[in-house]
Amino acid sequence: MDREKYDVVVLGAGAGGLSAGAFLAKAGYKVLVTEQLPFVGGRGSSMEYKGFNVSTGAGGWLVALKDNIFDPLKVPFNVRMPKVNSVYYINGKCHDVPATGKLRAALSLAANAEEADKVMRALKRAITWELPSDKISLRDWLLQFTSNERVIDVLNASWQVTETGAGGTLSLIKHMRSADYGYAINGNRSMWESIAGVIRENNGEIWTRTRANKILIEDGTAKGVIVTKNLLKKSEAQVQIEASAVVSNIGPYGTLKLGGEKNFCISHVKDVKETLRTFPWLAFQVASRAPILPSDAIGFVTGSRIVNWVLSPTILCPELAPKGKHLTYVGAWIPRNPPWNFSKYLDMAIQDLRDIAPDYDKYAEEILHVAYFIRQAWPMYRSYDGYSLRSRKTSVENLYNAGDAVFPRGMAGQPGAALSGKLVAEDIQKRIKPSGS
């Protein structure tokens, strides 16, 4: 077996792994990122299909990433942002809401100003005084202040209120209320390629088509990994990589599996198994010959059967579709646990889309891609808001988790995963010196 040596090895080139790798490489560490798939960006990436740029998961790009998290990397981003940041579909009609105070505006539209004020007062009190715990769902927390299902529906459009923890979600509302959405002009993958470029420019490496087989642990400390590189190629080979720190972006279950449960403190194993709650989701993308939605903004859908989120990226970024064609991205909550009835969910979602897009049958040509993200290994999120692991450190010294199971409190999605990687990089910089220093 070949042997190589790096300062830090990162398993997985998703948002958390690339972020950790980029900040460490920029700080002078010799970094290797391994990725099983042939591309970077994981569920935040995209691929070409029938001339369309189809998302592998995330539908839009949160500009919060650019402004708050990756600024120090000085990476060129190509994002177009809608003039109106968000719209709400209420009773089938599309409503613009102001960038500031959008939740209050949506609640007023869905119910009335009095009900909106009541809920906003409760939200403000929780956010500025004391957040509730995650022992109750956001729905149960809301029911203390309103029984109006239309109000609850507005919040359900953004957060699956029956499954998300109240504390975690309110913390998210507090921290991400000003987040802006945009679309990557050349597709989501191009954004992650930019971050990967930072790693390569700083003498780091990214090995795609490389499966991690084992995390090497000796005496409670991570020592490296064993990988198989060039998967399914003639040059496929096992390599042992020695490293001072290992960052896992493959999820805490994957970290346990590769490290061997017996090498972790039983409290950590228990934390992983009892805390994380896989968050499944239905997402599908429709090709059409004209836009089927009236707005290019991110659309939150209330009062629907199942759909919570719609995007029409090609109104703003025609580059994402063949000339004269359009792409609509639809997201829908599905139940957390089986038994699932997938065909029923898709039928319901298409009916929802018809309700808010009267021209659906006139312009839609094909459902390009349908995904359900039901497994912990490749979910929408590795855990519902409020049920992330509190620490990015595992019980094994110098072995970290990054990504969507270890969101910093108040963060989610790509920004949360990216920030988790950045925080891991900061911790490594405090503890371990780069070999070249």
Partner: protein, 57 residues
């Protein structure tokens, strides 16, 4: 050798459908392989994030 889907591992992300050049994989739920069309290029195996698509020996 052929390609086989291990359903218990499949997350139904359906990336396999997107990458199959022969359009040999269909489905809006668990992917279904059309073995008449499959040319055993194994792109679906390489692109499967959960190792649900495997080379059957």
């Amino acid at each position: 050798m052929a390609v086989k889907l291990i359903e218990e591992r499949c997350s139904i992300c359906n990336q396999c459908i997107l990458v199959c050049k022969e359009e040999a994989i269909k489905g809006w739920e668990f992917p279904v392989i059309d073995y008449e069309k499959c040319n055993e290029c194994y792109r679906c195996v390489v692109y499967c994030p959960t190792e649900a698509m495997v080379k059957e020996v």
